[in-house]
Structure formats: C-alpha cells, structure tokens
Amino acid sequence: MKHLLAMLGCWLGLLLVTPVVQAANTPLPPTLEPLLEALVDAKLSQAAPVLTRLEAEGGEAILPLFRTMLAGDLYYIKASKRVIAVTEMAGEETQLDLLSGAPIDRLSKREISKIRVNNSLRGQLRDAISRLQLGSVSASVREAAVRALLSDLAPGTLDAIRVARLNEGSADVREVMDMALALNRLNTATEAADRIEAIAQLEGSLEGPVRNALNRIADSDPVPQVQQAAQKALVGIEQRVEFYAFIDQLFFGLSLGSVLLLAAIGLAITFGVMGVINMAHGEMIMLGAYTTYVVQLLMPNHIDYSLWVAIPMAFIVAGLAGVLLERLVIRHLHGRPLETLLATFGVSLVLQQLVRTVFSPLNRQVASPEWMSGSWEINPVLSLTLNRLYILAFALLVFFALMLLLKKSSLGLNVRAVSQNRDMARSMGIRTGWVDAMTFGLGSGIAGIAGVALSQLTNVGPNLGQAYIIDSFMVVVFGGVGNLWGTLVAAFSLGIANKFLEPVTGAVLASILVLVFIILFIQKRPKGLFPQKGRAAE
C-alpha cells in the first residue's frame, strides 16, 4: 500500500512534502530524564526555563522532541510520567517512547495526557529548533534557520551563528549569516563608521528585520551621515518592495478573477449558450464542494490525493444532477426561458434544504492537501499562496479544455444551433434532447469542478452556492452573453479591478465601485464586453 502511494506521489508531480512531524527513532541521552520530568510537571508559565535547559543539554538530539512538542503531539503517560510522542500516520496512531526511541504498546486516551504548549512556548521552540538546525546537513535548512533567527538576534543566537559561520560550506548560507551579523552590527555598533559599513552590507536586502532596523536608524541615529546612508539604502529597498507589492496585487486580482471565472464558466454554458436562466447554478457548485467533502470522508488517510478523486467525482455528481434537472424540468420549458428562472429557483431551494437535511446545516470541514498549503516564497516580501496559484492554473486549464471540447466536438456547434433555432436544428437531424442534456450536464459538471476548487478557499455549507450566483451572472453578462472569451476577460478584469481598488477604498467600497462601473460600462456597451455582432443580434 505504501509503495503504491509513493508511486502515485511521484506520478502526481512531486507535489508532496513529506510530513514535517516525524519522530526519529534515535534515543535521547538518559541524562535528560530529570529534565523531562520537570517538563511534565511544569505549568505553562514555568516551562520556558526547562526548555532552555533541554536545548542546552540535549543539543541536536533534542530536536525530535521539540518538533513533536511544537506539533502538539507530545504526551506523557500519567502513571510513569514518561514522555511519549503520539503521531497519526496514515490513519494509524503510533506511540513512541521518546527516551528510548522505541514504539510502545498503545495506551488509551485516558492513560496519557498532553503536554500543553502555548504561543510563547511555540515561539521559543521554533527559535530553539532554528538554532539547533544551524548544524543541519541540508544547506537550505540552515539558510531557513538563519532567516528565522533574524528577527530575534539574542547574544546566544549570534554566538551560535558565528560559530556556524566558521565552517559553513555553502556560499548562500554564508551570505545570510553575514547579513545577520551585519544586522547585529548595525544595531549594536557604537562607531558610526561601523554602522555605515553595516548599512552598505545590508543594502538591497528585503528582509523585514533589516528594513525595520534601517528605518529606525534613518529616523533616529544620532549621526546624520548614518541617517543619510540608511535613508539612501531604504530608498532602493522601498522601490523594490513597491514593485513586488504591485506584483502581489496583480496576483491577488488574478486569483480573485480565477475564482470568478471558475464560478461563472459553467453558467456561461448553461445560461450563455443554452439560454437557461439557471438559478440553481450555485447549488451545482455546492454539490461539487460537498462531493469533495464526502470524498475526503471516504479516504481520510489520503487527503493529499483526495482532490484528484474529487474532481472527476464532482464533475460526475454535479453533471448527473444537471442532466437530471434538464430531463425532468428544463426540457419542458423550451421556448419559455423565463420560466426556467422560476423552476430553477425552486430547484435551488430544494437542493439547499436537501444538503441541510443530509449533511446538517453546519459548515463541513474540507481539508487542504499538504501540497496546496502554504506559499511559494519568492523573496521576503513576495510570496504567492499555493492554493491560489493552483486554482488560478486550474481555472485556466478548465477554461481551455472546455474551449477545446466545444471547438473540436460537434457538441459546440450543435448546441449553438439548437439555441438559435430549435425546430430548424431538429430538421437538420440534431438530436436536440441529447444535445440539451449533454450541454446542461457539461455546464453543471464544470460548476461541480468549481465547487472542488472553492472548497479549498471558503466554507462548504448550504449557502455556498448563493454566495456565487450573483457574481456569476454578473461576469457572464459583463463579458457578453454567449461568448466564452468574454467570460474569461470579464472575470479577470473584475478581479483585478477589485483588488487594485481595495487598498485605496476598503473592501466594501471597492465592491460598490466595481458594481457602479459595471452599470456604467453596460451603458457604453449595451451587449457586454464582447457583444454578439451582426444583423441577427439586434
């Protein structure tokens, strides 16, 4: 089984990060035993000194314990006060004796008790781990460790860095270490020249602590030359920061746009092409999201892969629901598109209540796979969140796949013919019933896929669909009904407009302004961004 999963992991494009929490099987030096006992007995407020001593005495050997503790997996056996790690891997709980490093027979929840940590302890643990990792074999780990220590350069830390600097092999790591030392010099040097030199060394660095220090110096250093040097260095840094902030905003806009696109794209088919005012579109999205939830319920140990299962499943579930809806209701409403508004509104109420009844009215928890969590840190001021990045790519992928499908298969042509003149389409031998069902199923299925993506960003609850229906219609219409490219452009332009307005006006006003913009824009182009042209469109 594990093999299989591992293979799958590679195949999926190495998106997996091995779980950080992994208790090593190396035993701890027995000298630490009394300290561990002290840790067990200590109240939250007294634990800090114990940890300091553990770090000092345990050295690198204590790392597994610290990691376990940081992850909240550190327990002790009530009877013997021995510390153990309780980890859950692939659904199985393993309990390890940390002193001996050996697994122990499983104890029940009642026999063990958790060693509590709070924020300040977590901070301390993290720093300690960083310090201990200065000696790690991996250069990137060492580099990350130094960066993590930048904000809190206590004398002990500095000493550790200095020592590590001496036999550091990697140039990159050395650079960061030098930066840390320069930063320290900037903060502590009494000679102005020293500080100026430190400033020169720090020029161009985007690290937050560096900027803060420079800012402080620029404002309040007693020596004017130092102040000027810091100001000069800051100008350069700020320029870069602003540039990255712009990129950041652009990314936010694109990301919001991709969400809008995903939500709207199915509607662009059911409404834009088929002409069904599908008020239940939001509920199709919701079905997709709930499918993700159910898939995760069924495979609790393989959350990392769950989305790959959920995407086709959501497509099928929502698509089938769409086909059913088309066959049972919408089919009878051809030529009466307005009635579809009424009927699908009813259907959306029923679907909402249905999930309320089946899944309870509460939000459901959908976990994010490891590979979608966190962010891609390009530099200290620019990091793109992974989930958004994936969703952006995914939205584009879905969009272009759909375009291709409609272009290459006869479905695209047939559905347009059917929507323009049903009787004539039938006279040309098009099985309109089949085309309708397939198209509606396709639109709904894509809405379902959108639901999978949205489950990674927001609530999975009965109201999920309602939150997106208005926006979806807005995007489709703004782009020009019946034009998929219009939907794409509309989604991204609305997303970007929103995100560039938001810092200036605040979130609420930004939304209002975007709406007002839509209203005014439609005055100018009464048929949306990409209007249908020609005599017939009049």
């Binding site: 409403l333 009424l342 509104f345 009813g346 259907v347 807005m474 219409v477 709406l515």
Partner: protein, 381 residues
C-alpha cells in the same frame, strides 16, 4: 439570439378583471378590519392583529409585485432590482418614523437616532434634515426612488440596453445599494437598519386601530394602483408598451420614442414599489439593507411568475399564495418548508405555464376563445 428575444416576450394581454378584483379586495379589507376592531377577542370570527399585520404585509408585497408585473409582464423589462426602490421608499418612511421617536429613544437624544449616538455622530447628517416632517418624508418616498429610476432608466434605455443586460444592471444597482447601506458610515443604521418605531402622525403604531388603519390604507392604495395601472395598460399607451415588449425596433419605426415610454413606465413602476415599501415599513416595524438583497428582488419576480405575468391580478394572486405558503410552512414544517416551496415553484412552472392566473384561463378556455373573436370586452372599473 433567438432565446434572448423569447426571453422578453411574454404572453398576451387578457383583461384584468378590475371590478371583481377591487370589490373582493375592499370587501375583505372592510370585513377583516371590522372583525378585528369590533368583535371581542373571544369571538370565533375575531381577526387577530397578527393576521391584520400579516395581511398588510402581503398587500404591500402585492403592490411591489404589481410594479414588477407592469414593467416585466407588459413591457418585457425584467428588473431583478426592484427591491431597491421598495427599500428606498421603506427607508424614507423609516427615517420619518425614526425621527418621530424623538427623545423616547434609548439614549434619550431628541435629535439623533440611537445608532448615531451609539457611533458618536454629533449631529444629524444633511440628508436626514426635514425627515421629521411627514409631508417631506412622503415626498422623499416618491422623489428618491423616482429620481433614481429616472436617471437609471434614462441612461439605460437611451443606450438601448435591453434583455439580460438590463436585468443584470438592475441587479448590480440593488446589490451596490445593499453594500452601501450595510456600511455604517452611510448613516442609515448599517445592518441593523431602522427599527423600534413608536408612532406615525401621532398615532401609536402598536395600537390595533393604527394597525387596521395602515392595513386599510394599504388596501386602498393597492386598489387605486391596480385601477390606474389597468387604465394605463388598456389605453393606446398600454398597447404601445406591449408592442415595445414584442418588437421594440418595429415600434420605433411607427414613430414612437420607445426609450421615453420605457423610462416613463420604469419610473411609474419604481414609484409603485416605493409606495409599497413605505407602507411595508410601519407594518413590519423594521427596514434594513437586507431588503436590497438581489435574491429578494428575484423572489418578487418569482411571485409574479407563479401568479402569471402579464395579468395584474395574477401578480397579486402569486404574492398571496407564495407568501401565505411561506408563513404557514415556516410554522408547520420549519425544517422542510423550503422543499415545499421549491417544489411549488417547479410544479407551477411545469403544469401551469401561465401561472395561477392561467389556470383560470385553462379552466375557462372555451369562453376565452369566444371572447377573442368578439369585440374586446375590457372590464370597466
């Protein structure tokens, strides 16, 4: 764009049964009012105040539905934002009622409504000035939504925005207003809106007599609006309006400036909605930005569709049925009422293509056809 044109071409225009409608409306109103005021509570025929306020609410909604029906059913303008005019009318009325509270408010500040005291406003914003005068407030009930509808309609219809594009614009309008009114900086009480009203024109809002009076006035206004709408729609102007629905550009070639007709009708409809809002607020006792929510406006469209668009009485019937169903269902089957309501919508669409009003037509199909070939016999009020 075959379906787009179909989208906005509704059925034909049968008579509106003015006399029966108005008679029934006034009779029920009079009976219910008397049964509430004159009969003792123990009497089995007594109509509770609860029922009176409920009916009052329904009738306000009926006005709103009428407003939507006039522009949608007859002129093909599907407004998904009529709630905006309703709510604006409601807010104007709410502001008046709020000012009537005076120093009986929680903080006892005679000039500032509670929520302003609460958020440290030190004086009344300019747009609240004058709202303590009934006549001025009533003027605003009409003026604000009227002007908004005029400007909006004038812009939209002049640029020939039609169909879904127009619908989405109206939706954007109400959505933007909702977000704006949610903002506490706007000075309309944010999410909480305006509530805790005490009296109107010196009459205690909590007394039965005032309630009955409000209800009766609502009924009267509804009747009046019904008759006026009917007269408008059966005049030549009404024919032009329907012609615009079915072929706007053709109508232009006949020499009618269709944009003006549409603006005019849109304003008329917005005013009805505003009056409905103004009557709604004192009867339910609260107005808040939720009324601007696009889904509310869509629901109004659904009422009209259920009742049967393109007939005035259909709209009213739709309102009564759906809202009564809602009231009953939320009490009898609080967990499952959405199923019932949703199914109702689906079934009505499937089996009653012309709504409930069409049911009447279906039952009397024979008579109807005869009337088609004979002289048009519009009922005169």
């Amino acid at each position: 764009m075959n379906w787009l044109t179909q989208l906005f071409a509704a059925g034909r225009t049968p008579g509106n049964r003015v006399l029966p409608f108005v008679t029934v409306l006034f009779a029920v109103t009079a009976l219910a009012s008397m049964a509430n005021l004159l009969l003792p509570e123990t009497s089995p025929l007594h109509v509770s105040t609860y029922t009176i306020t409920l009916l009052g609410k329904y009738l306000s909604y009926a006005m709103l539905a009428l407003a939507v029906d006039v522009i949608w059913g007859y002129c093909g303008i599907l407004s998904l934002g009529h709630g905006a005019f309703f709510a604006l009318g409601g807010y104007a009325m709410g502001m008046y009622l709020m000012r009537q509270i005076g120093d009986r408010s929680v903080y006892g500040n005679p000039d500032l409504p509670d929520f302003m005291v609460f958020l440290n406003w030190d004086s009344l914003p300019w747009y609240w000035l004058g709202m303590d005068q009934f006549w001025f407030a009533m003027l605003m009930v009409l003026l604000v939504p009227g002007v908004l509808a005029f400007v909006f309609g004038w812009l939209a219809f002049r640029s020939r925005v039609t169909g879904v594009y127009l619908s989405i614009m109206t939706q954007a309008l109400t959505y933007a207003l909702m977000l704006a009114f949610f903002r506490n900086e706007m000075g309309f009480g944010g999410n909480n809106g305006l509530t805790d009203f005490k009296e109107i024109l010196g009459f205690d809002l909590q007394s039965d007599a005032t309630r009955v009076a409000l209800f009766a006035i609502t009924a009267l206004l509804l009747g009046l609006i019904y008759v006026v709408s009917h007269l408008i729609l059966k005049s030549r102007m009404g024919k032009v309006i329907v012609a615009i629905r079915d072929g706007e550009s053709r109508t232009r070639f006949l020499g009618y400036r269709t944009d003006r007709y549409k603006v005019w009708l849109f304003v008329y409809s917005a005013l009805i909605a505003a009056i409905a809002g103004a009557m709604y607020v004192p009867q339910v006792g609260i107005i808040n930005p939720g009324e601007f929510s696009p889904l509310n406006s869509i629901e109004v469209v659904v009422w009209v569709a259920v009742g049967g668009r393109g007939t005035l009485y259909g709209a009213v019937i739709g309102v009564l049925l759906v809202n009564y169903a809602k009231t009953r269902f939320t009490a009898i089957m609080p967990e499952g009422w959405l199923f019932a309501l949703g199914l109702l919508f689906v079934l009505v669409t499937l089996y009653l293509p012309k709504g409930l009003a069409g049911l009447w037509g279906q039952l009397t199909a024979g008579r109807q056809r005869k009337a088609d070939t004979a002289l048009p016999q519009e009922a005169h009020p």
